[in-house]
Symmetry: C2
Subunit: 413 residues, 2 copies
């Protein structure tokens, strides 16, 4: 038989048990914080009609995984969790109570260049509040993401906030404003000169380029609605328990997605900026209107768990989860029914327990326990069978004690 070479697509990865246990612990902690803030779970499908997703993302749209399905329908894998949320809301608008606060923790797909260290499949942890104008909601989604980071042991983070209406100062047609925002959004990576050069390459008016240059040098009056909104959000954030030194107004934040209308924000880990923002979001008051006659203002934030995973791995903050506690050794085939019964009793008492499947040399079984990070082994041979006991061996300290089954369960519980 011809072998098929086992391999992964570029930009896709497996998470082995140790990594996946850590990720699941992260998801669970984030979910708890989301629920503490009153967000409820929603699940939408991975595949959507392509026209639902088109025209929402700007430049990134070319990264959409789209194809014709078996019924010749144009379909696409979701690119984010926000547009499917808008579709869901519009479709169920008469059954829902507003403000509608939901979270969704799920993967999305973007055919990005994996050389930039970005995955093509990655998880987003999103919260959104739909049907609310108050910027208390903006502050709340930001605070919730900060508390989720704190829940993961990350105390060192910085929130940068802007309001896209700050760019209304540039008197240019809408399409040019979008281009200006896209260039300004790269300010962190390409610097002032890079932005200026990009705008020139986009054939912007020299006057406008100069205006943008001055804007980025900070010489503008922060007294418009946009700046006031940013200041209010910052004050509310402090009320919600986020320390002032972790929050910064940053008028160079624009975000790449087309659907944001006013506030936009990003959270970075200082010293770990190479991972990009670990959370980002903004207000999108017009997105729902693309699917519905009703206008529903909305705001949300998304935590990028895969970047965060890498950053936490780097900082040494990945949760360590040794999931299996006990290995019942399969020492002697004739006592198999005892091993099976004992294993079941431990499991029925909520103890994560494995029974080694085959009666092979004990060395091999101990080695297995060690590789899997199992804390205890249980030995039951002829001597123990006669005495009605078992040997409990601590695999770390190598201490061993002979105890009854009842004592065993009490001890391990």
């Amino acid at each position: 038989m011809t072998k098929i070479e086992p391999r992964l697509l570029k930009g896709f990865r497996d998470y082995n048990p140790k990594e996946q246990a850590a990720r699941q612990a992260m998801f669970s902690k984030i979910q708890n914080v989301f629920e503490r803030f009153g967000f409820l779970p929603l699940s939408t499908p991975v595949l959507e009609y392509k026209d639902i997703l088109m025209g929402k993302y700007g430049e990134g749209e070319r990264l959409l995984y789209s194809f014709k399905d078996n019924g010749e329908r144009d379909v696409a894998m979701r690119y984010d969790l926000t547009v499917p949320l808008a579709r869901y809301i519009a479709q169920n608008i008469n059954q829902l109570t507003f403000p509608f606060k939901r979270y969704q923790i799920a993967p999305v797909w973007r055919a990005d260049n994996p050389q930039r260290g970005r995955l093509r499949e990655f998880y987003q942890c999103d919260i959104d509040a739909v049907g609310v104008e108050s910027n208390l909601a903006d502050a709340e989604v930001i605070a919730c993401a900060c508390k989720a980071l704190e829940g993961l042991g990350v105390s060192d983070y910085v929130v940068r906030i802007n309001d896209r209406r700050v760019f209304d100062r540039f008197s240019v047609p809408e399409d040019q404003k979008v281009e200006i925002m896209r260039s300004i959004d790269k300010y962190d990576k390409i610097g002032l000169e890079g932005v200026v050069q990009e705008l020139r390459e986009k054939n912007m008016d020299a006057d406008i380029v100069t205006e943008v240059e001055q804007f980025l040098q900070g010489s503008f009056v922060q007294s418009d609605n946009a700046s006031q909104n940013v200041q209010q959000i910052i004050e509310l954030l402090q009320g919600l328990g986020i320390p002032k030194d972790k929050i910064k107004a940053d008028y160079t934040i624009a975000r790449g997605l087309d659907y944001y209308t006013s506030s936009v924000f990003e959270i970075f880990l200082p010293g770990k900026e190479q991972y990009g923002s670990v959370a980002s979001g903004g207000r999108y008051d017009q997105l729902l209107n693309q699917f519905s006659d009703k206008v529903l203002p909305a705001v949300g934030i998304s935590i990028g768990i895969d970047r965060l995973f890498e950053a936490l791995e780097d900082i040494g903050l990945l949760p360590n989860s040794d999931l299996v506690k006990v290995l019942v050794l399969n020492q002697d085939e004739q006592y198999l029914s005892d091993y099976v019964r004992l294993t079941s009793a431990l499991r029925d008492n909520g103890i994560n327990t494995e029974l080694y499947y085959e009666s092979v040399k004990l060395d091999k079984q101990f080695k297995y326990a060690e590789n899997k990070g199992i804390a205890y082994a249980i030995i039951l041979g002829e001597k123990e069978k006669v005495a009605g006991t078992v040997q409990l061996k601590n695999l770390q300290t190598r201490e061993q004690q002979e105890i009854s089954e009842r004592e065993l369960i009490d001890k391990l519980k």
Copy 2:
């Protein structure tokens, strides 16, 4: 602006917050049982190279979602979690410790006919033990699935077990044996006559058709290896705490997938057979060999959570999760900073709390709490502000008491 009609693809669905909270509670319970049995989590991507998935599934293969990606690679969305596991094992064979026991809870995609009530995107909860020949592993994966069902409150289930080698009695070429198994697998749905008719339409020898007919009528000697294996698994299952009356040898179970080699099994809910099997699996000792020179015997089972969700909904066993406990009413704009601080204090004490975003009529805010199933409301107006207290209102009983913030937290914790 032209509106885009918000709609879902056929065979795909959303789960609203109430449904999704119930599903997540189910996932979490199943995960706990999987971990109690010593299975560890693994995550593989949704997209694989198409050739990895081809040639493994038999008839079902035409249901694969496959397409060319932006780089003209032939890719496909995973059809199950077993073939990606085999790919992972082959790719990492030298880093892994065997037996390798893993679980994965994740969606898969099949472009099945939605008229048959099947979803095209559905979750599988899989456990597999790889690198083990002992049928103790077969018994263990079955027992683990049973305990997962019990963990969900399902006490009424039946396990049906067979061994595909029972079909070796038919002396026909391999491709014909596959066709016989596919027809026998439909026995439950189409009956004896249906199977006989299908085999005739497949142009099987009349002698073979008669043999199959006699086999299905039960007139065969159960003394071969296959039958013995089934009996041993049944005995081990009892040792693992599964009552004898819930286990049946059933020589008509064949399973549709091509990769099974010996034991095959299904779990049904009596009286709810219309949902099909809620869990199924088998042994696949040759699958790994398609990716690797090494032979690694393996066995696994998959719980179909979406069918189970519908069945539990039907039986009335869906877990009820009202996730938000408290709504802080936004009665008077001037006390907003008090509301924000109080909300934060409750959340910091682990209490799932919402603050109503806008200072609208209290009627509307109470209505919101009711719709969301929130148990308590907190009222803080001028009177309470002066007294340094709050009103805690039980929204079920309508009882209200005036207490201090400290008492409030102690009471709700």
